[in-house]
């Protein structure tokens, strides 16, 4: 994969464009700016006093281009004429789209300074929002800020080596360390599957390796047990030399004491357990004291937050005036809707649905795209714009302001059928990648898209987070919720293992790719050394296909 030096590359100008800029600089662009009208959907156009018509044929249909030297408007048919007649009049602008066009090359061309002026028109007219709006036009910087990692989280090669050598300890079994079955304690596969995935998350496992004081709070009586300590216990049990399946009874007990509302015998939602456990870790930091959530919302540095927490941004834009209000909310994961076309009633029958021919949106990318798509909220939503008091409605758009180190994507397969109090399940196959690039779903990308993808550096939206992810665990569900079964596929050093309660077996990559996924766990690629082989394999496959 190409290394990217910025969110998008400034394309090299054709020689006519560079020539033009050398001769005239950016003055013509600036002169144009009062005629640029930017719309709310990222489109822009050139609007003058009169209706533009071709100076040669007086036509008004089709694309019209205005020469940036003499302002003569030509239609496509007569553009050539104009170029030939004038002295190097080869740069024009598409009147309807405010896009630069090189008549000699016969192609649309791009210039960051021109784009900057187009964006500044839009930004100038925008009412500003205190929270996340734009504080003005800024020159595009070519520098890229490197993300500063927490010292606790790994780029440290020594720590990484420790992690890897932990895997090499087992000369006997020659299987990586940390693989161990978990006994089903009675409909507890939901817990087992999440534990298998959780304990494999690099930041968490590195943290647990170092934790020496996990026995410190074991004897607290009367208070709620420390879930982090319990997880640490399970973690060390998984890495012990004993290969017989481990019974996470204490974990179940502690979790029940911590979350009484979910404490009952019977199958549960694995995702619910996952969130509950992370909340439990968050509540109890290393200090072992109960936290007051409101105080620590911003400052928490618990491992759950460090590893899994990201920031989701919600933008609500008034369609009347363009005023955008922004709210950011921390999250441990992202729950994605599935396309609802094939939702079948599976509440009572236990028949498995055949994986249908895949529709274009039954891919993970499709779900992510749906999630970050601008959604029109109708006028029945009681929307009152705080800027213009308009009530015609708004556009709501979700995006990711900050990506977590470990990205958990939850596929919303279960839905409650309100009329019948039955849980329905969507068993449709969902395609998912092993290597995931999250660039398109970042707030910086969605904002840029809102402005027509113009080349412009928006202040306060620098995209410096790492966007490349590699999958390391998949939790799958089969059957219906009440009597269904969870298994986890783990990827360790390029080999996939199936963790089915006490059973640990090797499986093919294809089995995993074809499985019915429920929760997908990705980790930032830079945190994992041993996934290099896979990404180079894909990269070389891509190179092969592009050569041929």
């Amino acid at each position: 994969m190409r290394a990217r030096t910025s969110l998008y590359s400034n394309p090299k100008p054709c020689k006519h464009l560079s020539d033009y800029k050398l001769r005239y600089g950016t003055t013509p662009f600036e002169n144009l700016h009062e005629f640029i009208k930017a719309g709310l959907n990222g489109r822009a156009r050139i609007e003058g006093i009169e209706v533009p018509r071709c100076s040669s044929c007086n036509g008004y249909r089709g694309r019209l281009y205005m020469c940036l030297i003499c302002s003569a408007v030509s239609c496509l048919n007569h553009l050539g004429l104009h170029t030939q007649s004038g002295d190097r009049h080869d740069i024009a602008v598409d009147v309807e789209r405010a896009e630069l066009y090189c008549c000699s090359c016969g192609d649309q061309v791009y210039d960051s300074e021109f784009d900057g002026i187009v964006v500044s028109e839009r930004v100038r007219d925008l009412p500003e929002d205190k929270n996340g709006g734009f504080e003005g036009v800024e020159e595009r910087t070519s520098k890229r800020r490197k993300l500063k990692l927490d010292p606790g989280i790994e780029d440290d090669p020594k720590k990484a080596r420790t992690m890897m050598s932990l895997g090499d300890h087992k000369e006997k079994s020659c299987y990586p360390s940390g693989l161990r079955g978990l006994n089903n304690l009675g409909f507890t596969c939901f817990m087992n599957s999440v534990l298998q995935a959780l304990l494999r998350a690099p930041p968490l496992s590195n943290f647990l390796i170092d934790r020496h004081n996990h026995d410190k709070y074991r004897n607290k009586s009367g208070k709620n047990p420390c879930l982090l300590c319990e997880i640490g216990t399970v973690f060390h049990a998984m890495h012990s030399t004993d290969h017989t399946p481990y019974s996470p009874a204490r974990m179940l007990y502690s979790w029940w004491r911590h979350t009484p509302s979910l404490a009952s015998f019977g199958e549960k939602d694995a995702h619910e357990f996952f969130i509950s456990v992370l909340n439990g870790i968050h509540d109890f930091s290393d200090k072992g004291q109960e936290r007051n959530d409101s105080e620590d919302k911003g400052n928490c540095q618990c491992i759950a937050r460090k590893a899994f927490s990201g920031l989701l941004r919600s933008d609500v834009m008034c369609i009347t005036c363009g005023f955008t209000s922004t709210t950011d909310e921390p999250c441990f994961d992202i729950s994605l809707d599935m396309p609802t076309s094939n939702l079948s009633f599976k509440g009572v029958t236990n028949k498995s649905v055949e994986p249908n021919e895949r529709t274009c949106s039954s891919t993970l990318f499709g779900c992510l795209e749906m999630y970050t798509r601008p959604e029109r909220m109708g006028s029945d939503q009681n929307f009152h714009c705080q800027n213009c008091r308009g009530t015609s409605g708004s556009l709501k758009q979700m995006s990711i302001k900050r990506l977590p180190l470990v990205l958990c994507l939850h596929i919303k397969r279960f839905s409650q059928c309100l009329s019948r109090r039955i849980i329905l399940k969507n068993g449709q196959y969902l395609q998912f990648p092993f290597s995931l690039d999250m660039t398109a779903y970042l707030s910086s990308s969605t904002v840029r898209n809102r402005f027509g993808n113009r080349i412009f550096a928006f202040k306060c939206l620098n995209s410096d987070s790492s966007v490349a992810y590699e999958i390391f665990a998949v939790v799958c569900h089969s059957g219906i919720l009440q009597t269904g079964h969870y298994v986890t596929y783990l990827r360790v050093k390029d080999q996939w293992y199936k963790c089915d309660d006490p059973w640990i077996n090797e499986v093919d990559e294809e089995t995993v790719r074809a499985s019915q996924t429920y929760m997908l766990f990705y980790v930032q690629r830079r945190l994992v050394i041993n996934f290099q082989r896979v990404s180079t394999r894909i990269a070389s496959a891509v190179k092969q296909s592009s050569k041929g």
Partner: protein
């Protein structure tokens, strides 16, 4: 009845419709051109590669001659062990001290901690004082700052799922 007027109308409509259609097509072409030229779709190749791999995987797995696992039962695991359907390990319950078999631990714990419906019914018959002892606990999910944006799918606390042998019994918890 078609007269000269009607023909003009039809012609005019097509005329303008074509204009609009052309304009829309060029809009999209221009956007895509910009995206491609600026390199915003740089990972398109990788995405397609992943799609291809998934398709191949599904085809292979669906093939009846595929001998991979897919719900098949294993004889042994990677450590050479076999496991019974219900876990047989015996250990001590940390709540009451009794010896319990692993596979039956959850139902035991439920009664032991007084969580299940049957256990609770039994208790309300005996005394209410004992019940209040067990209803303390922090409803973490209510206060957590990390709620999911949409949770329509979730098994709501307290909603009894059909077919469950024991009711969730969660609605009583404060």
């Amino acid at each position: 009845m078609s007269g000269p007027n009607d023909d003009n109308h039809t012609e005019l409509s097509s005329y303008f419709f074509e204009d609009l259609l052309d304009s829309v097509i060029v809009d999209i072409a221009s956007e895509c051109h910009r995206i491609a030229r600026l390199g915003l779709d740089h990972n398109l190749d990788e995405e397609e590669e992943e799609l291809r791999l998934s398709e191949e995987a599904c085809a292979r797995v669906a093939d009846p001659s595929y001998n991979g696992e897919m719900n098949s039962k294993y004889v042994v695991d990677i450590f050479g062990q076999a496991h019974p359907p219900v876990a047989t390990e015996i250990f001590e319950c940390m709540n009451c001290g009794r010896s319990v078999m692993a596979g039956k631990f959850a139902p035991h714990l439920e009664k032991c901690m007084g969580k299940g419906r049957k256990a609770r019914l039994k208790m309300t018959r005996s005394s209410t004082a004992a019940q209040s002892r067990h209803s303390r606990g922090s409803p973490v999910s209510a206060y957590s700052p990390y709620s999911n944006s949409t949770s329509a799918h979730r098994l709501a606390n307290g909603s009894p799922a059909a077919g469950e042998p024991y009711s969730n019994g969660t609605s009583e918890e404060p």
